[in-house]
């Protein structure tokens, strides 16, 4: 619970998760990233006072696959079965802006030079936004780890931060990845099992129901929020075309209309900038928030699954012990096995409870922060729009 309080006190104006880079003993950030074709190279920068590290400050280049490797090794570590492993950052996805850029290239002939330039600028901004988002999401992943009392001490984490050579040797080879795929398959079958396993603890029973339901709802909300954002972007694009065409008409006009049209063209240009910002703010504060917590809830569900597994193992070990007692064979092994299972289960339950409670607190705080910020930004943009529009109306009326 202490970790939650710390996070509460150190809220900062950043990202969907509250700012995690608070512990001076281990500060991580990604100050720089390079985009080559589709491959993004992140520069992971660490500043630490811990003696476990060789140097107090250092940077290493890392690829997305290295992050995935780190995440997967953490997931596979038995000791961390009772923890919510921070969700792996999603792969950098430049598909959308790239496709739009392609379409723009095709349609270049149909628009004026000015229009084309503006559209291109919009796309470049979009590209940049995707880029910034992916940097951020990778950064948060590392910061979640660094601020976790147990995970921050993980050996592999340290290697990730420190090892100044290419990590690809340590990364999963194709076979292992395939193995991972099967593991996921089995897991979803087990998810059905979970509902079958009798829950002994009310807390976990409630959490299970809640998380399963919440996950599907938040997944839906994320998708819908994404669609909203896209519509805003489409409107911003329309404004570009309208502004450009108004400009062309005014150039050709010799009546009193000329000035009106110029003002109008200018207005639409400004409006589209605001609309673009509305879209990107909504994306960041709402869509990204929902998306991030969707993944986080998946990670929490994984924890529940592991615990349910442990419970099943425990119950099986009980049955095995009973059988052994009946047959009067291998009783000490069965007893020991049963004890181990019980211990594991208890440990998972205890840490699981802590993690899940902390998680809820974190989630509520993050939602609050982002919803407030989003509302404030919406108000700001709408006020801006009113000023722009009113200004233009007054100009038109006065002529």
């Amino acid at each position: 619970m202490t970790s939650t309080l710390d996070e509460n006190n150190k809220e900062k104006m950043r990202s969907v998760s509250v700012d995690l880079n608070n512990d001076a003993s281990l500060l991580i950030d990604i100050p720089d990233a390079l985009c080559e074709r589709d491959k993004v190279k992140f520069t992971v920068h660490t500043k630490t006072t811990l003696s476990s590290f060789q140097k107090p400050e250092f940077s290493v280049p890392r690829q997305h696959e290295d992050f995935i490797w780190l995440h997967d090794t953490l997931v596979e570590t038995e000791d961390y079965a009772g923890l919510i492993i921070p969700p792996a950052p999603p792969k950098p996805d430049f598909e959308s802006p790239r496709e739009k850029m392609h379409k723009l290239g095709e349609g270049e002939a149909t628009m004026t030079k000015e229009e084309y330039t503006k559209m291109k600028q919009e796309l470049e901004a979009e590209y940049l936004a995707v880029f910034k988002k992916t940097v951020q999401v990778h950064e948060i992943f590392l910061q979640r780890l660094s601020s976790h009392p147990i995970l921050s001490k993980d050996r592999n984490f340290q290697i990730f931060l420190e090892y100044d050579q290419d990590l690809s040797v340590r990364r999963k080879n194709a076979k292992e990845m395939f193995g991972g795929f099967f593991k996921n398959m089995v897991k979803s079958a087990d998810e059905v099992l979970i509902s079958g396993v009798k829950e002994v603890d009310d807390f976990f029973e409630q959490e299970k129901t809640f998380l399963l339901d919440y996950y599907s709802k938040i997944k839906d909300s994320t998708a819908k929020a994404e669609k909203m954002t896209r519509s805003h972007k489409n409107i911003a694009d329309d404004y570009i075309h309208i502004s450009a065409t108004l400009n062309s008409i005014s150039a050709d006009d010799s009546t009193a209309n000329k000035k009106h049209l110029e003002k109008l063209s200018d207005l639409f240009e400004k409006l589209r900038k605001v609309e673009g910002r509305v879209a990107s703010d909504q994306e960041l504060k709402l869509t990204e928030l929902l998306r991030y917590y969707m993944r986080d809830i998946q990670a929490a569900k994984d924890l529940l699954y592991r615990r349910a597994r442990a419970l099943a193992d425990y119950e099986n070990s009980n049955k095995a012990l009973d059988k052994a007692r009946l047959k009067s064979k291998d009783i000490p092994q069965a007893e020991e096995h049963q004890q181990q299972c019980l211990q594991k289960f208890d440990k998972l339950s205890e840490s699981g409870k802590k993690e899940l409670t902390g998680f809820k607190g974190r989630r509520v705080v993050a939602f609050r922060k982002n919803l407030i910020e989003m509302a404030e930004l919406e108000i700001k943009h709408a006020k801006n729009n009113v000023t722009l529009l009113q200004g233009c109306i007054d100009l038109l009326k006065s002529n």
């Binding site: 409630q206 809640f210 339901d213 919440y214 709802k217 938040i218 839906d220 909300s221 819908k224 929020a225 669609k227 909203m228 896209r230 519509s231 805003h232 489409n234 409107i235 329309d238 404004y239 075309h241 309208i242 065409t245 108004l246 062309s248 008409i249 050709d252 010799s254 009546t255 009193a256 209309n257 009106h260 109008l264 207005l267 809820k360 989630r363 509520v364 939602f367 609050r368 919803l371 407030i372 509302a375 404030e376 919406e378 108000i379 709408a382 006020k383 729009n385 009113v386 529009l389 009113q390 233009c392 109306i393 038109l396 009326k397 002529n399």
Partner: protein, 509 residues
Amino acid sequence: MADTARDPPPEQTDFEELEDGEDLFPEPAATLESEPASLPAEDISTNSNGPKQDSLFDDDPEDLFAEATEEVSLDSPERDVLLSDGPSPAITPITPPTSVITPCIGHAHDDMFTHSSFDEIEEEEGGDSFDMHISVSDPEKVGDGMNAYMAYKVTTKTSMSLFKRNEFSVKRRFSDFLGLHSKLASKYLHIGYIVPPAPEKSIVGMTKVKVGKEDQSSNEFVEKRRSALERYLMRTVKHPVLLKDPDVLQFLESSDLPRAVSTQALSSAGLLRMVNKAADAVNKMTIKMNESDAWFEEKQQHFENLDVQLRKLHASVESLVCHRKELSVNTAQFAKSAAMLGNSEDHTALSRALSQLAEVEEKIDQLHQDQANADFYLFSELLGDYVRLITAVKGVFDHRMKTWQKWQDSQMLLQKKREAEAKLQFTNKPDKLQQAKDEIKELEGKVQQGERDFEQISKTIRKEVSRFEKERVKDFKTIIIKYLESLVQTQQQLIKYWEAFLPEAKAIS
């Protein structure tokens, strides 16, 4: 871009040919056979009340040309200069039989009609300020099945002395409007008046209504049409000459109107229109006019460019309407999803905030829907109207070309006849010679008439264009201001909604 929420456009492109034909070209019979005889100054045997053109005719052609060049320098419509330019009522070789003109309008304003100068009539118009408001309302379905139609109530409110009463209404159906337009077009287009085009026909849209589908898209269609009809009438009556046309007055005032059958798309008249439109298009390509007047050349180019740009703008705004509608739908969907999420949330305060968020988004989706309507009815329809108007303007320029062509043809024929006559001089055929001389005399008259017609249409077009440009500026300004104000309203509502939500978000603990 296309989304399930988007309504399929009611108009089929297949039928646009007909619709345009409707707008651009008058009844085929009238155009093809129309001689300058249709000009009232010369022949007022037709019952139609044409404009008063008389004063502008001058015996001395050179004077007309002098007028023409003077007008070139005018950029903005400075009517006063035009008026002082114009020949005073003293020069009226062809006195308009005003007695013929006036009786059609039983309650004629005598002052207006005794002046034979068209220019002065316009001045008078300026004095008696245009005070008229027409509304088209109460669409009502009459009849059943495929013979059903929509009847609209046309209400006129005016203080102008042109009308018997200050307020009156009649019931009209769509084909009545088309009929009115086709009559006006046949009377005025070929002499250079820009007759506002009527709203487009829509077989698909109307069929839905006839079949009785009471859904949103057919309601939208009826509303779109109602609004278009209203704008059409207002534009028509704003034209000082058209306003006084007896057909217009009859349309507005009389409770019974003979049905205009030839406006039907699939009638023989409709097919004839299509054929003629194609023929005209071919002719246009073959007429090579020697444009001696830079003003016309410049204006023609200007309208060509404007046409292209307006179409482009219209397309962009249509896209905007579509995207805004999509935004509305997506917002509504998100609202529902957020509500479900709120229900699922087990932290009480957050749950309440999420439900509030859902409510806000629901209100916002309605806001976007309303804005999309404003986008459409104010901005998009304005542009659509002007695209069609520009087409009418271009049509008028084309008529001028045809008039020129006719003049040139008569001239060439005259030349030929003169050559033939010269040859006949050397033969001993006195009666043939006399015949030739007679023909030449007739042709000379025709050539003169042709020239006069050409000058007339050129002069009319100049006036019309400057009036049009003036109207356009005013129209755009008024409607754009209205549109911007709608945008302001939306934004102000947004502020209200989000400001109401903010404390809810802050209350999460």
